[in-house]
Amino acid sequence: MIVYHASLCDEEFIFWGEAPEDRAVPVSLRSGKRASAGGAMPFPYDAGKKQLEAGLAPFLGAEKDSAARRARAVMRYAWLPTAETGPLPSSPLIAEAAAAGEVVLAPWAIAGRVLQGREIVDLLAACGGRRILGPGLIVGADLAWWCQALRFAGTLVARQSYLPGVSEAGGTYRSRWLPVFQGEDPDRMARLAAAMPAAARAVSAEAAAPPQTSPSALLRRFVERMVDALVRLGASPVPGAPAAAASRRGRRKPDFDSIHDQWLLSLQSADPAMAGDGGELARFAAQVREWHLPVSISASSPFRLCFRLEEPPAEDAEREEAESGSAGRDAWQVRYLLQAANDRSLLVEARDAWKPRKPVEAVFRARAFEPRQFLLSALGQAAGICPRIEQSLKRPAPPGYELDAAGAHEFLTLRAQTLEQAGFGVMLPAWWTRKGTKLRLAARARVKSRAMQSAAGLSLDAIVRFDVELALGGEPITMAELESLAALKAPLVRLRGQWVELNAAEIRTAIDFWKKKAAGTASVREIVQMALGGDRRRVGLIFEGVSADGWVADLLAHLEGNAPFEEAAAPAGFRGELRPYQVRGYSWLAFLKQWGLGACLADDMGLGKTIQALALIQRDWESDGRQPVLLICPTSVVGNWQKEAARFCPELPVLVHHGAARVKGEAFQTAAARHAIVVSSYALLHRDLESLQAVPWAGVILDEAQNIKNPETRQARAARSLAAGYRVAMTGTPVENNVGDLWSVMEYLNPGFLGSREEFRRKFFVPIQALRDADAAGRLKRLTAPFILRRLKTDRSIIADLPEKMEMKVFCTLTREQASLYRAVAAAAEQGMESAAGIQRKGLILATLSKLKQVCNHPAQFLGDNSAIEGRSGKLARLTEMLEEILEGGDRALVFSQFSEMGGILRRHLQETFGREVLFLHGAVPKKKRDEMVERFQDGDGPRVFVLSLKAGGTGLNLTAAGHVFHFDRWWNPAVENQATDRAFRIGQRRNVQVHKFVCAGTLEEKIDEMIESKKDIAAKVVGTGEGWLTELSTRELKELFALRGEAIGD
């Protein structure tokens, strides 16, 4: 476990880390003796050089040059809050924080790694938005904050807010890309600096005094460096290019025709140093600064020039509209204003600034601002961009200028952007957006189709004819109205009281279209896409929507959620009770399937996605031809699917295509054809693709579809390549919230619907993520909403359908290692039972039970050898997946195990995987600590996963903050389990609690579970409070119990 940190220390970006204490560090070093004046103690939690390199290697590549590596590994001092007991760690994952007492800042010697420009960018890009970099590699809050600082630098570079310049330090001149902070940038920088964790500036080169640099100064220094690095980055020639190498080593005088050539090349290379005559360089640097002057003056000015477009007063325009319907004449205004840099709300009209009166003058004087000079120079610069500004300057003290509708339109569409880009403020009316007026004339396609008799024979591939209507805010516009609008020849008119942008070409096209009584044709699939706002360009018009009648209208109404589906009856062979919302979900799946549209079922965990999918499969099996459905899921749930299918759809033949014994090629085709469901895993989806592609699937269902969120992965490509009658994706993570992931899932479900990946990036990803374009976000939602069904267990309509406590069994698979250990233990027990009797036999049976349970939990628990954890237990894999989903949804969970060793393993693994603190309560925890843990778990911001040993945590605690309870292993006594479950489920608890009982399929866990289920009443009597009843079974029964059924083994 390492928590990584980063700090800017003078000019060095230092990467360092905390790790749980190494036993090699003598305890005496962290005792109360703090640093003496001369030096500092070694930091007891120092991650060390090796760990730093190892952490960085995946992102930066290993440094091959060992001399360079040594040079970058440095010793520095971190000034950390320190108590009597030693430094206070950043996280309880490193060490328990010491009890309160006096806390002071003290220097601790740490190992640091100096990062250079490109390395910083690469590292921070890798850390972006992530809590962990890998198992046990945690991104500290300060490191995460640097990511934000890099983002800020990224915005400056993206907006091209920088100038080429020269810097001088110690007689060395360097070419530099200098950021220019204009508009809201200084304000943003101040807000960012205010959020900086102190750890980001806590490292110093000397132990004499703590660093003092303020957050703002440090941030500025960092942003300057990053802007330079980002602009240089791609422009730099290959490192070690002759010119750069020669100038760096100074062996040869760099060969340039002029200092300008040198500067320009240096700006584009990795090495910024400029060589040459000092006097010449100094003159050049001064010249560059002189050149920058107009920009540096306006950037440092306490006010900036703003332009505000004001529309004509409403009465005027209405009168005009009433009179002739003409567009307004010279009634628009562009007003000049001065806006205070440190207070955006402070606006002074130029009218009042040319010759300010007393109160206004005081405002200027307080900022040592000379308004007249500033206005002259700023307006002079702006005049080059906008000729009307120049015109206005022919009169003394201009307050702004007047313009007509065409001029206003030009200002809105063209001038405003250019002025803004040049650093001036621009204020536009609220009805204007980047894409035009909010209210627009919109073309709609009008589709006529016959009334729906039955869905049979209708398909999305049907070709329909459509004609065009124009509408304004939903109200159609007549031909006559349109012609009179066209006659106005004004790009901006007030129509029905609101400003509307008119596109002359579009109106012309629409009029032509009408006059020719023309009609377009499109497939219904295209119409659906058009209606949902997807591909909208046809016959020279951009369509904003579709109006339809007949069956197409019905289809659209269903898709857009304006008309309820016909609820499908549960299939005859389905052996389960569908809750009302499950009936709706299953009917929805059936509806989309019928139209050949892909569906993503994204219900919350525990709402029964599996059962809805199984109902769909059963229905098809009964009605359509008997074709197999391919079900792809993570290895850890293969067994679960098999069990659930057997439970709810006992008639359906299920083939598990998994494990070493699976058949391939033609044998697989034959086998698949005989089954209703073929269950396989993502790993095999790619590996056995050829076999899978050869089968004509009725449908393909992806469970935990977040596995294909990256469209370039092999499993995502493979999923898209399978031919199927219908496609379904299931996931419990909110895919619709992650724009980046959405494309891949949608491309699998409905190919082409969101356009190519490049188009999607341009139309949705960048606008939503970088431009905060609410319109694009809205369109994307509208376009995808019909294909994603997500219900939360907190939805009011769902809660009513749910029991307060839901118990589910989670069937897990054993890994191959677990299976062989299991067999070995069972074989040894069988041998022993032959000879043992009485108490000895009883002891042997109980011991075997315990061992087998341990094997099912984790080989490391059974072997007790402190070995690796990852990838060796099916249960652990499943628990991790489920907890990930739960944490992502913001919920909390309790995890019970009867073994406290297992609890320790779970805690360690979960902490490393999620980079969050996990609480662990076991018998050795004292009462006070126990209460503290409970309090922290119940608290809103506390740890969200609580591991408890059944004995220590099973009674008496109140843990109602948890929405999920896991029983990682089973105590074969329902009463004990229930008591534990009730920690989360208490009277007065309003929320629904889900109880997940883990069972390894094919093992004694499942068999005992079956025994208890089949004779619940007997169990209640016989079982008592312990597991002793099991020892009463006959040897034959026990052998049966211990035997491992074949299906249980995973990869």
Binding site: S91, V103, A125, G128, V157, R221, R289, S377, A383
Partner: protein
């Protein structure tokens, strides 16, 4: 071969070849020579009115190939070094009459009537009708005849203006394009004197623009120390790649007496366009907003 050399060196009508001048000041005009603005064109027109024939062409090509090694402008005088056919560069001076104090007074009165004049000048542009103001004040802005200019060159060519002078003259035209105050300087007034001591903030002129911010001690409270405040999600506003590249340096105009082999503006446009994409990528990635897993 030697005869040939002799011929070239001794002829009385020498279309002599200048030596290669490396790192000279290069004309940045895209077409023709001289400036693009009306006042620069106006300046060049004066030269062309002298009817110096082929020397005009030669001067223009000298300006383009970067034969001028340096140009200094002072009140009433321009000094330049131009690389000709001899190893030692020629010294060129161009003198212009400066205006008297009384003339300036009258002019300033004219200029203050229209804010446009000062505004345009401050923005680095010459107001279209400023000559009108000069006329009203009864003083010329541009030289009208060859008598208004005194030119000299150390080259052996007897004709004045020679091609070296013409080259410098062209480059001056271009320079006026960028900074109209240079004409005023030649006429005897600096920018500051002209616009009445426009206050330029001192820090904008200083070498290190980093403001001296007061230090701030580190907090010793562990929570404040390790955890910062949350960064607001809407902090950055719209991050849009501009449609016009390198707008900021363009607002500054051409670099004074550019001597690079490639155009500064073209290079900056390329660099800025490529950097924008990278900046946006860094902005998205550093928040984990990326379509691909790293």
């Amino acid at each position: 071969m030697s005869r040939r050399h002799w011929y070239w060196d001794r002829t009385y009508y020498p279309p002599s070849r200048p030596l290669d001048a490396r790192g000279g000041i290069k004309s940045q005009a895209r077409r023709g020579a001289g400036g693009e603005s009306w006042w620069a064109r106006r300046w060049i027109a004066v030269l062309e009115s002298f009817h110096i024939g082929a020397r005009l062409q030669r001067g223009r090509s000298y300006a383009r190939s970067g034969q001028a090694l340096s140009i200094d402008i002072d009140r009433g005088i321009v000094r330049a070094k131009v690389q000709g056919s001899r190893p030692r560069p020629y010294d060129v001076t161009i003198k212009m009459n400066t205006l008297t104090g009384a003339q300036w007074k009258m002019l300033e009165k004219e200029l203050s009537n229209k804010p446009l004049y000062a505004a345009r000048l401050l923005a680095g542009e010459m107001p279209q009708d400023i000559e009108e103001a000069f006329k009203q004040a009864g003083v010329p802005l541009f030289p009208a005849t060859s008598r208004d200019l005194q030119t000299e060159c150390s080259c052996p060519d007897w004709s004045n203006p020679c091609k070296h002078i013409a080259a410098v003259y062209y480059l001056l035209g271009e320079e006026f394009d960028r900074d109209p105050f240079l004409i005023f300087r030649l006429r005897g007034r600096t920018r500051e004197e002209l616009v009445g001591g426009l206050e330029v903030p001192a820090e904008a002129r200083e070498a290190a623009p980093e403001p001296a911010l007061p230090g701030e001690p580190l907090p010793d409270d562990p929570a404040a120390f390790w955890q910062g405040a949350p960064v607001p999600d809407d902090l950055y506003g719209e991050v849009r790649i501009p449609q016009i590249h390198a707008a900021l340096p363009k607002r500054l105009g051409n670099f004074p007496f550019w001597r690079g082999n490639s155009s500064l503006t073209d290079t900056l446009e390329c660099v800025c366009a490529a950097a924008s994409a990278r900046g946006l990528e860094a902005f998205l990635q550093a928040d984990g907003r990326t379509e691909d897993e790293p």
